[in-house]
C-alpha cells in the first residue's frame, strides 16, 4: 500500500476547484429542511459544518457541535440512488399524426457529476443497482449513461448513527471498493487516496503532503470507534434459508398492525429498484411522454393484474419486501439486498425496526 496523502482542511477548496476545472457538476451533502441532502454545491461554505445526526426508529434530528468537521454524521434520507436511477424521467415520447405513430427515444443526461461524501453503504448499494440495471441482456441506457459519467468521492464514516448496521452486513463503515477517491476526515484535514485513474488525475492537482504516522494512527482509531459504535446487528441465522420457510410466521400479522404501507422504507432504501411506467399526454392529445417513476411494493397497484390484487394487505406487502430484500435477493444477485444503512428504520413513520423484526422471525429476539 502506498503512503497515505494528506489534504489540509484549508486546502479542501482545491478539490472543488479541480473538479470544476474538469467540468464536473459537484453534488455534496448540505443541510436542507433539517436533514442532510445531496445537492449541487458551488463552494465549501455550503457543507454541513459541525453537524451531527441523531437517528432512531422513526426519528431523525440534526444537532450542532463546536467542530470544523463537515462529515461528522452518518447519512440522510437519500444519497446516490436518485442521481443514477431517477425518481422520475421520460423514457421515450410518441406522436400521433395522420393516424400514424412515431416513437422517439429520449436521450439520457450526458453531464459529468462528481459526488462528494459517498458512504460505504451507498457504494455497496450502488453495486447492487449496477447488477440490476446493467444486466447483459437488457442494460438500462439511462442508468448506464449516468453511471459512466459519475465520479465517486467517498468519505469514510466516522460517526455511524444508532440505526446503522453496516458492520453486520459487511458493507462498512470503511470504504473498500468502487470509489474514485476516498477521504478520511480528521480534525485538521483529510487522508486522501485515489481508487481509479480518474481519481488519480484529480488528486494530482491537489496540494497534498505525506500523511504523518500520527494522522494514520488517528484514522485507525476513528475507524475502530465507528465499528464499536454500531450496536445493531442482524440475526445470526442464514436469512436466505430461514425466511422462505417462515412465510406463515405470526410476526407478519403483528407487523401489519403497525405498518402503514406508506412506502417510506422503499423510497429511502438505496437498493430498492421497483418502478412503474406511465403515459402523460399533452392536452391536444397528439403527443405523449412515457415516464418511469419510482414505485413501491407497498403500493396497492404494485401487484394489480386484470381485476386482481395479489397483495391486498399490508401483511403480504411487508412480507414481499422483507423476504425479497433478505432472502430472494441472494439468489437474484448473489448477496442480500440490505447494506445496513438503517434508513428504513429511521424514516419509518411508526419506527418499525427491520433488524428487530428479523430477530423475532429468526427466534433470536432475546439475544
Amino acid at each position: 500500500m502506498t503512503a497515505k496523502q494528506f489534504l489540509a482542511r484549508q486546502d479542501f477548496k482545491s478539490l472543488l476547484q479541480a473538479l470544476k476545472a474538469e467540468a464536473y457538476s459537484i453534488i455534496a451533502p448540505q443541510v436542507r429542511d433539517n436533514a442532510i441532502v445531496y445537492e449541487k454545491i458551488e463552494n465549501i461554505s455550503q457543507l454541513p459544518r459541525g453537524i451531527l445526526d441523531i437517528q432512531a426508529p422513526g426519528s431523525y434530528k440534526l444537532e450542532n457541535e463546536e467542530s470544523e468537521r463537515w462529515f461528522a454524521w452518518a447519512n440522510g434520507p437519500q444519497a446516490l440512488k436518485p442521481l443514477l436511477f431517477s425518481p422520475e424521467e421520460v423514457l421515450w415520447s410518441a406522436e400521433l399524426q395522420d393516424n400514424k405513430l412515431a416513437f422517439k427515444e429520449c436521450a439520457p443526461d450526458d453531464k459529468s457529476v462528481a459526488v462528494i461524501g459517498v458512504r460505504a453503504c451507498d457504494l455497496a448499494a450502488l453495486d447492487l443497482q449496477d447488477k440490476h440495471f446493467l444486466q447483459k441482456e437488457y442494460s438500462d441506457a439511462h442508468y448506464q449513461k449516468r453511471r459512466e459519467n459519475i465520479l465517486l468521492i467517498a468519505v469514510n464514516c466516522s460517526h455511524p448513527a444508532d440505526t446503522c448496521f453496516c458492520v453486520s452486513t459487511g458493507d462498512g463503515p470503511f470504504v473498500s471498493a468502487g470509489y474514485d477517491i476516498v477521504l478520511t476526515e480528521l480534525e485538521e484535514g483529510f487522508l486522501i487516496n485515489p481508487g481509479s485513474d480518474k481519481g488519480s488525475n484529480i488528486c494530482d492537482q491537489l496540494p497534498l503532503c505525506e500523511a504523518t504516522d500520527q494522522q494514520t494512527q488517528q484514522s485507525f482509531q476513528q475507524l475502530e470507534n465507528a465499528i464499536n459504535r454500531q450496536q445493531r446487528k442482524l440475526p445470526n441465522a442464514n436469512l436466505a434459508k430461514l425466511l422462505p420457510d417462515q412465510l406463515e410466521h405470526k410476526q407478519w400479522d403483528d407487523i401489519a398492525l403497525r405498518c402503514l404501507s406508506c412506502g417510506n422504507c422503499t423510497a429511502v432504501c438505496p437498493s430498492c429498484f421497483c418502478h412503474s411506467e406511465l403515459d402523460e399526454q399533452t392536452l391536444d392529445g397528439l403527443s405523449t411522454q412515457h415516464i418511469r417513476q419510482w414505485d413501491s411494493c407497498f403500493n396497492l397497484d404494485h401487484s394489480y393484474i386484470h381485476g386482481i390484487t395479489i397483495r391486498a394487505e399490508s401483511k403480504t406487502r411487508y412480507r414481499q419486501w422483507l423476504t425479497h430484500k433478505f432472502a430472494y435477493w441472494v439468489e437474484q444477485y448473489g448477496r442480500s439486498g440490505c447494506v445496513g444503512c438503517g434508513r428504513c428504520i429511521t424514516w419509518c413513520p411508526v419506527g418499525i425496526d427491520v433488524v428487530q423484526e428479523l430477530k423475532t422471525i429468526a427466534g433470536e429476539a432475546n439475544e
Partner: protein, 278 residues
C-alpha cells in the same frame, strides 16, 4: 443507443370479435425491416402499447411459421385493454418484444402433449396447438383440454371441433357454470376430467395456462398418474411494466416472471405456487 423500452409502430390489419369481451388484433409492423427480423416462440409475449394510455403484456397467439401477422387475443378488462378493444383496422399502436421463455416445444418432441387451459388461458396455448397440429409427426398424442365458465365464453369452438377429428388427438371441453341445455361437452370443472385423459405419464409434457387454482387442481391428478414436476409447465401471469426484469412488479420469490418465465416447469415454482400473496 439501444433503448430496451422503446416500442415499434404496428398497424391493425384485422380485428376479430371472439366473444362480447374478447377480441383478436392481427398486427403487422409498419417498418418492413422490423417485420422481417421479428421472430418469436410460442409462449412468449409482447408489450402492446396504446397511444397515450400505456402498455400491457399480451401473449402471441400466432404460429411463428404463419403469414407474418402477429395475433394477440385480448380480454377487455383493464384501462389499456378496454382502449385496445376500440381499435379499428388501420389504426396504429406500438409493440416491443418478444419477451420471456417460450413453451418447451423441443423437449416435447416424441412425447404426448397435454394442454390444460382455462378461460382466456387458451390464448397463449393455442399457438402450441397450431404448432403441434402442423408438425404432427414430431409429437405423440395430443390432448387439448379447455375449461370456461359458460358455454358462450368458449372461443375458437369450431377449431376445437376440427382438432377433435385429428388422429391420435383428444379434445375435452368443460363449462363450470353451465346452466343452459345444449352444451355437448362436460358441465363442471375441466380439471375433473383429468382421469379421462389417455396418455403415457412417463413420456408426456403438460402445458397449462389459466387461473392458478385451475392449474393447481390439474397438477394433483397428473402427479398421481405419475407425471414428474419437471414435465408439467405452467404459464404464470403477474403485473408487468418493463418486461425486461427491471421494474420489479412481476417478482415471484427470486424469479422475474417476465424474463425467467412466463412459462415454468412446476418444479421451479412449486414452493410459492399455493402461497397467497406472492
Amino acid at each position: 443507443m439501444n433503448n430496451a423500452y422503446l416500442p415499434h409502430e404496428v398497424e391493425v390489419v384485422d380485428r376479430i370479435q371472439e366473444t362480447s369481451t374478447i377480441f383478436t388484433l392481427r398486427l403487422r409492423f409498419t417498418d418492413p425491416e422490423i417485420q422481417t427480423a421479428y421472430q418469436f416462440k410460442p409462449g412468449q409475449f409482447n408489450m402492446v402499447y396504446l397511444f397515450g394510455v400505456g402498455e400491457v403484456a399480451i401473449s402471441i397467439v400466432s404460429d411463428p411459421r404463419d403469414d407474418n401477422l402477429l395475433d394477440h387475443t385480448i380480454r377487455a378488462v383493464g384501462r389499456v385493454t378496454r382502449g385496445l378493444a376500440k381499435l379499428k383496422i388501420g389504426d396504429r399502436l406500438g409493440i416491443r418484444g418478444p419477451y420471456g421463455r417460450g413453451w418447451p416445444l423441443t423437449e416435447a418432441e416424441g412425447k404426448d402433449v397435454i394442454l390444460v387451459t382455462g378461460g382466456l388461458g387458451c390464448a397463449p396455448v393455442v399457438s402450441v396447438i397450431r404448432y403441434v397440429t402442423r408438425r404432427r409427426e414430431l409429437f405423440d398424442r395430443l390432448v387439448i383440454m379447455q375449461g370456461v365458465k359458460h358455454s358462450e365464453d368458449l372461443i375458437w369452438g369450431e377449431q376445437y371441433a376440427k382438432w377433435q377429428k385429428l388422429p391420435n388427438t383428444q379434445v375435452l371441453l368443460a363449462a363450470s357454470e353451465q346452466k343452459k341445455a345444449g352444451w355437448p361437452w362436460y358441465s363442471g370443472h375441466v380439471t375433473n376430467l383429468m382421469d379421462k385423459v389417455i396418455f403415457n405419464p412417463h413420456n408426456a409434457i403438460a402445458m397449462m395456462c389459466g387461473p392458478e387454482p385451475m392449474m393447481h387442481a390439474a397438477i394433483e391428478p397428473l402427479t398421481r398418474q405419475g407425471m414428474s414436476e419437471q414435465d408439467m409447465w405452467l404459464s404464470m401471469e403477474r403485473n408487468m411494466h418493463c418486461a425486461v426484469g427491471h421494474c420489479g412488479h412481476c417478482q415471484y420469490g427470486e424469479k422475474f416472471i417476465c424474463k425467467h418465465g412466463p412459462v415454468f416447469p412446476y418444479s421451479e415454482i412449486k414452493t410459492l405456487f399455493a402461497v397467497k400473496g406472492f
